[in-house]
Symmetry: C2
Subunit: 193 residues, 2 copies
Amino acid sequence: MFDLLFQHIVKKASLTPNELEFLKTVFVPKKLRKRQYLLQEGEVSKYMAFVNKGCLRAYTIDETGREHIVLFAIEEWWIGDMYSYLSGEPSTYNIEALEDSELLLLDRNGQEKILQHIPAFEKFQRIILENNYIATHRRINNMMTKTAEEKYLDFSSRYPQIVQRVPQHMIASYLGITPETLSRIRKQIAENK
Amino acid sequence: MFDLLFQHIVKKASLTPNELEFLKTVFVPKKLRKRQYLLQEGEVSKYMAFVNKGCLRAYTIDETGREHIVLFAIEEWWIGDMYSYLSGEPSTYNIEALEDSELLLLDRNGQEKILQHIPAFEKFQRIILENNYIATHRRINNMMTKTAEEKYLDFSSRYPQIVQRVPQHMIASYLGITPETLSRIRKQIAENK
DNA sequence: CGTCTATTTGAATGTACTCAAAAGCGGTGG
DNA sequence: CCACCGCTTTTGAGTACATTCAAATAGACG
């Protein structure tokens, strides 16, 4: 259950076997069936979740009732509403399992404990934040400057696993384009090669 | 010089007079004339800068040579490339003063010192991060779901001071629309009231 | 197998863009 | 202090890209 998490962490910061063992006492395993929710709009996001297995999406619903996917997560990714998690305010996101999934949950308390026991965890956290910052800013840049086709090509080369596993209209939603447009783009790409 | 910074901080976390006094030894004042750069592409962002006076922009240049404004900052805002600051990697941003400006610089060293001396500073930092997270995600949401007109209306109601102070084509650049489109939108808004 | 949902295709529309040129504005030097 | 130059904003015309709405096809799940 903890193998993937441990691999994930030691890639970014070196922890002793003892320290890794300690982590087991802090993370809480949780299973989610397809279509179950980790978080619903209005709830406080008490956990950040590491995905050990499966696939999830975070989305919002706008005034006109449309869903907009904010984030996907598959194995070795983190998911949660960081804002709600940090501030304790209710979340505006829904987080739903797109496949049967296994998560490892970390709450603020657990996080504090880890930081007290394992100084190197700070570095790990910092790297996660950095990567998040980069991905978010790249996304803004893509939204601003790229055509629908470029957005899709960038996405599918960066996250090919997600393209495989997730319904096409959800990818369209993530990219901020209509399902019809994405369908036509894919057709055109297929033809031109 | 430190008045605004102190106000800014005590709004978010309560610090003792002694602690505030200590901050003076850590932040480094810096003046920038209009059109001077705080950071240029390829340099490492060694500081996060608190804007005591003035106005700046952070922008990138894409493959086709176009500028895209990532961020504005006026009094009481922070500016810098957080990724480069945290990771030590070279920045892809340029940060330029749009007016004569006064900054207070904080480097990683200084930040460490503060955290050691002033535990309450952690809370302050957390709140800054939260606000940053919210603003960034709102921006993504706006880019994805809003028309050019809605983007402008949202921006100008949220940051009216910036609309006042910054050339129109830079606002267009920030919103990811052309200057011509923004001009037409503004005309239309003016007519319809 | 049948139903429900996802994807594809078509036609018409609309929003924002490009390119080009005119008008407006501000800063600078004579 | 005014005239000029350069940059910003506005306006116009034509175009491209993506959207909407509608319907047909394909695929998944019970």
